[in-house]
């Protein structure tokens, strides 16, 4: 197994859009995971929140703490006992055309028996004063190894064509 960083899977959303994007059958041979996402959503807003859940489970075992900037406004909030972890905002249909967000999710020790504590940085972008940045802490109270990762908005639109998701394994 090569040490360091290795791309595992990549997905690009096609013309039909995608309600959910999932990485299944994640190899258990790495130490950490990283996901890089360039998303855009179909909902009729400038931005829409999107979520991550693990191993296909939407049990209420997810929570989030985040700091959010939005142009000239700041906010801080948390979500508890949720069906998925809130990541941040992605550009949606009313944002500047052809504009996609930039997301990095780092998941240490994904095969361990510890709860999964993810470090997430999300920027949305829009050619206006207001656009969102999130510094997010996500936790999944999941004691088992991660074998699949899914992304969804839970009813607030689909990922549009050319949204890209790439999963990387990091080995020590």
């Amino acid at each position: 197994m090569p040490k360091g960083m290795q791309a595992i899977y990549t997905q690009t959303v096609g013309a039909g859009n995608a309600t959910t994007v999932t990485f299944n059958n994640i190899p258990q041979t790495y130490t950490d995971l990283q996901v890089l996402i360039s998303p855009r959503l179909s909902s009729s807003y400038s931005q829409t929140g999107f979520y991550i859940y693990l191993n296909g489970s939407t049990a209420t075992n997810y929570s989030t703490t985040y700091l959010q900037g939005a142009g000239n406004a700041l906010g801080s909030s948390r979500e508890t006992n949720n069906v998925a972890c809130f990541l941040g905002q992605a550009p949606a249909a009313n944002a500047t055309a052809n504009t996609f967000g930039n997301v990095s999710i780092y998941i240490p020790n994904y095969t361990s028996g510890l709860f999964k504590q993810m470090i997430t940085d999300v920027v949305q972008e829009n050619n206006t004063t207001s656009a969102y940045q999130n510094l997010t802490a996500n936790m999944a109270r999941l004691n088992s190894p991660i074998t699949s990762i899914s992304f969804n908005t839970f009813g607030y639109g689909d990922f549009v064509q050319n949204s890209t998701f790439t999963l990387y394994g990091i080995s020590r």
Binding site: P2, K3, G4, M5, T31, D32, S63, T64, T65, Y66, L67, L74, G75, S76, S77, R78, T80, N81, Y106, P108, N109, S112, L114, F115, Q117, M118, I119, T120, D121, L135, T136, A137, N138, M139, R141, N143, I170, S171, R172
Partner: protein, 200 residues
């Protein structure tokens, strides 16, 4: 293929420095890893190779101190010697606790860098915090050392998300790193040091 300048303008003139790309090479390599099994409050990386451009630490940790949250700290050593415990460190932090509260603060003339706020013994069992620590140009001998840290410690109703930067006021190349906490690291805490390679 060597890195070349395309501009030969005189120094001091208005010039554009250009270069062609070097031959690609793999960049990220693990150096060392430790998992806490005992009761230590300090994790040390010593004899750090001087063959990389940057260092990158991935830490997942919890403390046994009797509180809900506590801190991880960093100290550095140079020249193969002990880490510097003098008041030669400082930190600027951007923090939220998710409860509608966010803040920024700083520590000056400290004996360590404040790296992360991590869960401790009064937080829900099983909750460990995660940290990514970037140390660029760790081996150069002309600048102070900068550490950029991104951390997460959500505990389902409490928690922190932070972005922090620290400085070690020493121009020596980093040859050792201590990561310290209060009381002890909980068994299962992991610490991995990677080197990021670059061309000359």
């Amino acid at each position: 293929m060597a890195i070349r300048r395309f501009s030969t303008a005189r120094p001091g003139s208005k010039s554009n420095r250009l270069w062609d790309q070097d031959t690609a090479q793999g960049a990220m390599e693990p150096i060392a890893s430790q998992t806490q099994t005992g009761t230590s409050a300090t994790i040390s990386f010593t004899s750090i190779p001087q063959t990389y451009q940057d260092l990158f630490l991935v830490v997942q940790s919890r403390s046994g101190t009797a509180s809900t949250y506590t801190d991880i700290y960093a100290r550095f050593g140079t020249g193969g010697g002990a880490v510097d415990s003098g008041n030669n460190y400082s930190t600027t932090r951007l923090i939220t606790d998710g409860g509608g509260s966010y803040s920024t603060d700083r520590y000056s003339n400290s004996s360590l860098i404040y790296c992360n706020i991590i869960s401790a013994s009064s937080t829900t069992v099983g909750v460990f915090a995660s940290s990514l620590m970037h140390i660029p140009n760790y081996k150069n001998t002309t600048s102070f050392k900068t550490m950029l840290i991104r951390s997460a410690s959500d505990a389902n109703g409490t928690g922190y998300s932070t972005l922090q930067v620290g400085t070690w006021r020493n121009t020596g190349a980093i040859t050792s790193i201590d990561l310290l906490t209060n009381a002890n690291y909980t068994p299962g805490s992991t610490f991995t040091l990677y080197g990021i390679k670059a061309g000359s």
